[in-house]
């Protein structure tokens, strides 16, 4: 039981405040995310519509997982903007990591505008069944 509690505390989201006007983009937004925990990994699912594989940067150190990307909507042709709810933005979000994540084995996949990051747990954190001899 105690072990379980420890595990769920491993990944915590820290949502950054909105910073207007960075890098010529209108604003930096903190994309919404879901986090799941399985027996051997944490899975982070982040909504980032309009990013591209090339523009996404993911870095992880012992304390923080950091994700950022520009939203690349190619609206060639100019014209008059009548409704502007999407705007130009940069995604940025950080997740505080606990110990016990295999940093070298983090995998990421970007599909349909959603980024999926799998953070495998170190062996000592994985739940295991102990047989009574």
């Amino acid at each position: 039981m105690e072990n379980n509690k420890k595990n769920t505390a491993l990944v915590r989201a820290c949502c950054n405040a909105v910073v207007p006007g960075a890098e010529g983009y209108e604003m930096v937004v903190c994309p919404a995310a879901d986090i799941y925990e399985t027996s051997d990994a944490f899975i982070v699912e982040i909504d980032m519509p309009g990013a591209s594989k090339e523009s996404i940067s993911i870095t992880a150190d012992a304390r923080m997982l950091s994700v950022s990307s520009l939203q690349m909507i190619n609206d060639s042709g100019g014209g008059e903007i009548i409704v502007n709810e999407i705007g130009k933005k940069k995604y940025h979000r950080e997740f505080r990591l606990g110990t016990g994540i295999k940093l070298d084995d983090i995998r990421a996949e970007y599909k349909d505008g959603v980024l999926l990051i799998t953070l495998p747990k170190a062996d000592e954190l994985k739940a295991r069944q102990i047989r009574i001899q």
């Binding site: 769920t8 925990e37 027996s39 349909d112 959603v114």
Partner: protein
């Protein structure tokens, strides 16, 4: 509720511009941009996590209706939810156009969670120059 996005400042604007009204303002309405170009209007919508086959686009009586369903990420069995922020599973939004649209030539593309609908103006709605004789 009718929400008028376009606030014409002059009567001239009122006559010349696209008037866009929005009839759906529910929780699950996706963010959109609308751009009016010389010969077409472009509607861009954020649909993260939505696959091509789950989007439906209709155009009737000058109303463009976008509906989409987001199939939830297939969570592995026994996974625990650590953080839940993503909620919208269904997107629905209608946009009314007051310009003549060439309904037969509307095209749409969904890439990386961004839907782009191009609505060409019909011949009668295109701007033209009249020569003085």
């Amino acid at each position: 509720m009718f929400v008028r996005f376009d606030y014409p400042k002059t009567l001239e604007n009122l006559v010349n511009n696209f008037l866009v009204t929005d009839t759906v303002f529910s929780q699950s309405h996706p963010a959109i941009d609308i751009i009016e170009q010389e010969n077409q209007a472009v509607v861009i919508a954020e649909l993260p996590g939505v696959k091509k086959e789950d989007v439906k686009i209709e155009f009737e009586n000058a109303v463009l209706k976008i509906s989409a369903e987001r199939k939830p990420y297939e969570v592995p069995e026994n996974a625990k939810l650590v953080l839940k922020e993503l909620s919208s599973q269904k997107f629905d939004r209608s946009i009314q156009f007051e310009h003549d649209i060439d309904a037969g030539n509307i095209s749409a593309d969904l890439t990386n969670g961004i839907l782009k609908v191009v609505l060409p103006k019909s011949e009668s709605a295109k701007p033209r120059t009249i020569e003085v004789k």
